[in-house]
Amino acid sequence: MSLGFIQSRLQLSRSSRGRQLNQLRVLSQRARSLRMREPLPSPQDQTAACPRRRNAEPTMAQLVGPLRKELADSLSSCRVLVVGAGGIGCELLKNLVLTGFKNIEVIDLDTIDVSNLNRQFLFQKKHVGKSKAQVAKESVLRFCPSANITAYHDSIMNPDYNVEFFRNFQLVMNALDNRAARNHVNRMCLAADIPLIESGTAGYLGQVTVIKKGQTECYECQPKPTQKTFPGCTIRNTPSEPIHCIVWAKYLFNQLFGEEDADQEVSPDTADPEAAWNPADAAARATASDQDGDIKRVSTKEWARSTGYDPVKLFNKLFKDDIMYLLTMDKLWKKRKAPLPLDWTEIQQTECSQEEACGTGLKDQQVLGVQGYAQLFHRSVETLRSQLTEKGDGAELVWDKDDPPAMDFVTAASNLRMNVFSMNMKSRFDVKSMAGNIIPAIATTNAVIAGLIVMEALKILNSDFEQCRTIFLNKQPNPRKKLLVPCALDPPNASCYVCASKPEVTVKLNVHKTIVQALQDKILKEKFGMVAPDVQIEDGKGTILISSEEGETEANNNKFLSDFGIRNGSRLQADDFLQDYTLIVNVIHSEELEKDVEFEVVGDAPDKAPAPSAPEEGKNIANGNKDSAQPSTSSKAAAEDDDVLIVDSDEEPSSSTMDASQESSNRKRKHHDADTDDAASKRKRLDQQPADDDEDIIALD
């Protein structure tokens, strides 16, 4: 029996939501055990399941010299949850098991891909396509058959994994690659009051930190920059960088073959403020039928369908006709180089220009010429067209960087557009990096981070919480020759919109233009990390705006907020019962939001560009540096100290993954030099030696 069924059976009146919640929790726990999952074993099941242990052999823990017996024992009995079985997860599972942890549960929704094999060492080529969690468990059991591992091929955001589930564990360790899941686990661990070790890697960089309710910052205490988006007119009219063309090509894919999205328009944007026609002219343009004929009034997909997805017609529309239209918006080109349209026939007739010899690069690293990309465009459109036909009526394709024709299409389309806008074209290899949000990854960074995670875990289990730190793994040693830099943990942010006692936020939007669906998806889910929000209006009547129950409030989705009496100063109460999270949203009505901006969270830092600026770094190091004994050059320090990224490294999911809503983002975290000799140092600056060494040799006792 499914959880959904249980939930609907419990439809009680709105005022008894609290009670409903408790019953939901209890029943969901039962439901889960009713399902055919591997049962959660209790500690006494161990010996039964592991006959080898009956011979009282020395445990692994006792053999790892430095662990005291008490700690070794608690490792054997405690239960830990590992969220993610990828780069960090594989290393972490290995470390946990070799350290002596016995009861481990691991969850991952993903399946194994060949590109994982350079670092996710628990997987081999023969495992490609299988569940990561499952294969990881099997591989670990091969070298430690007595380990008690439960594997879940599932999303941690599945409501089955409720607060009760999390309460089973003494410790949760994240090995994730996306922010949505991190936010979610953060809230679940806060709700369950279980310590969480958070970590991340990107290339040579990595970071580990500890999150404990009430004692440290939670994952969401510090606002993180949202993923960089580009204004619609940049994508549609005036691209200036390859990434703009690549984003355009991905939008185009969706418009032609996938789910059409109103926010992913590809045709020239006549409403571009820069184009600034006089009103009469603008009106004329809006209604006139130009050489595109009726294109403006039909969707891109419909038009493509009407031409039978003819590649040549498509080519000429996108790279000739639409470009010529853009050229008529002459104000745009006063200060910019104007785009140069391409014509299919002309391209076919020109001499094939000498392309860069393949030479020493990968095949994918070749940069083709215009002809090459035109051919690639033609081929990929035909292939995708047949894929679409095969799937039948109303079919939609989902873009996947690992699907060759989809990747070919974006490579070709983006390069043709780059050529039109006089940019140097990019190889498939580079386009894939950008289009697929690929974060380079190696085994060793993950190995180091996983080692640090276990070190923090031991501190927690040893009740040495004061010893816990945030640790940054840098690419270069800092001026003190440290590659690993620990920092003290920060206390919770009193105004955190997640872990503060009664969190509130203020959101600026247009109540006449924002629909309920947007509130749910863009604001509560995407921005505020809720998974299944319930929203009521604080209007004295507790009017329900959104229900997490499927179908209940569907009728509200396309209505405007103002239709419900929501106006400037209204307060909404948003709950996510799974996350045990309540957020009050104060609404400010505004009609002056920037173009393409649907809402603004008041108090948010403005979006920062991902790349660090050297003066910024220098300022930080200098400000943080109170130690006069520091070696001279703080400016030199700035140059050598890299800012460290905590990276949510979402790759575009392959079609085998279940979670379709992932985003990639970077977070700059100013790291603090941990060494100091100054007794009166700032809290963040720590002694090089661990604290216990300052004590007398009572350590011998």
């Binding site: 070799l98 070298f143 058959p145 960088e241 020493t360 380079p440 000799d677 011998l700």
Partner: protein, 319 residues
């Protein structure tokens, strides 16, 4: 040598490109080719050795030789993840071979059961890089010296419970490249178009800058004279584990036998002692290495160790 890439290694197969994709995107195709052309020796297949083996094999070196003369015991088996559970009594390198190979079939993984001390000089010359774990100080110094003459890179390391060290000697003249953002130069072309109308240079483009650095030998690193002023002023910044290298390494204590005490006392200097403790008290610890301890501290230890305990003082003293 890995400075030159052999002709037949120039082509990366599709299989390699797919498997190494994420790391090629980090360190570049050129670096991947160099890895692909290098042969590495790894001595010691305990916990540390297994990690090194894993990382090198996953990275895609040409060949890795696992050298270990010791036999699998329960303790050694539980320290690492390559040895099967039924392999007690087998040679450690042999036992690790199968799982090591499975990590990446494209690497040639071999096992050698000889003792490293017995290997002649020219044995090491077949490798581009040598990794030594759990080796004696004398052996490490010897290998480091003979490898220097052939520009073979040497890495030494060991772990002792929560402590460990790694030492690298990449030679007197180690050439490398550093990735730097491309500096956009002003155009020399006669051009009357405004700046913005020129084709854009991708701001994310980088360029490789050639550099050279010099490494000191292991012998030099171990023979630092701590009595001179310069060394003493650096004492505070020197990690205590350096002295681990001096003390514990020379006698190769195992993890359970070492207890490291540190008591930074600034410039006042101190004495490095090694105390051998035998007897029922603290049966796990046999070796206490003290770094920069005060006189009071030393006396305290002597008292603690009084009953039936052997104490000996060791090298590494400094005023």
């Amino acid at each position: 040598m890995i400075d030159t890439i052999e002709k037949e290694d120039n082509i990366i197969s599709e299989e390699e490109a797919a498997q190494y994709d994420r790391q090629i995107r980090l360190w570049g195709l050129d670096a991947q080719k160099r890895l692909r052309g290098s042969r590495v020796l790894l001595v010691g297949l305990r916990g540390l050795g297994a990690e090194v083996a894993k990382n090198l094999i996953l990275a895609g070196v040409k060949g890795l030789t696992l050298l270990d003369h010791e036999q699998v015991t329960e303790e050694s088996r539980r320290a690492q993840f390559l040895i099967p559970v039924d392999a007690d009594g087998q040679n450690q390198a042999q036992a690790s071979l199968e799982r090591a190979q499975l990590l990446n079939p494209m690497v040639e993984v071999k096992a050698d059961t000889d003792e490293v001390e017995s290997k002649p000089d020219d044995f090491f010359f077949q490798f581009d890089a040598v990794c030594l774990t759990r080796c004696s100080k004398d052996l490490m110094v010897r290998v480091d010296q003979l490898c220097a003459s052939r520009n073979i890179k040497v890495f030494c390391g060991d772990v002792y419970g929560y402590h460990g060290y790694m030492f690298s000697d990449l030679g007197q003249e180690h050439h490398y490249v550093e990735e730097k953002p491309k500096v956009v130069k002003a155009s020399n072309e006669a051009n009357d178009a405004p700046e913005a109308k020129k084709p854009k240079i991708d701001p994310n483009e980088t360029t490789m800058v050639k550099k050279t650095v010099s490494f000191c030998s292991l012998k030099e690193a171990l023979e630092v004279d701590w009595t001179n002023e310069k060394a003493k002023s650096n004492l505070k910044r020197t990690p205590a584990d350096y002295f681990l290298l001096q003390g514990a390494v020379s006698e190769r204590c195992s993890a359970q036998e070492l207890f490291l005490l540190r008591r930074p006392e600034g410039q006042r200097g101190g004495r490095l002692l090694r105390i051998q403790i035998s007897g029922p008290w603290r049966t796990r610890e046999r070796c206490v290495a003290m770094h920069v301890c005060s006189r009071n501290t030393m006396e305290f230890i002597f008292c603690q160790c009084a009953t039936g305990i052997k104490i000996c003082l060791l090298d590494g003293t400094f005023a």
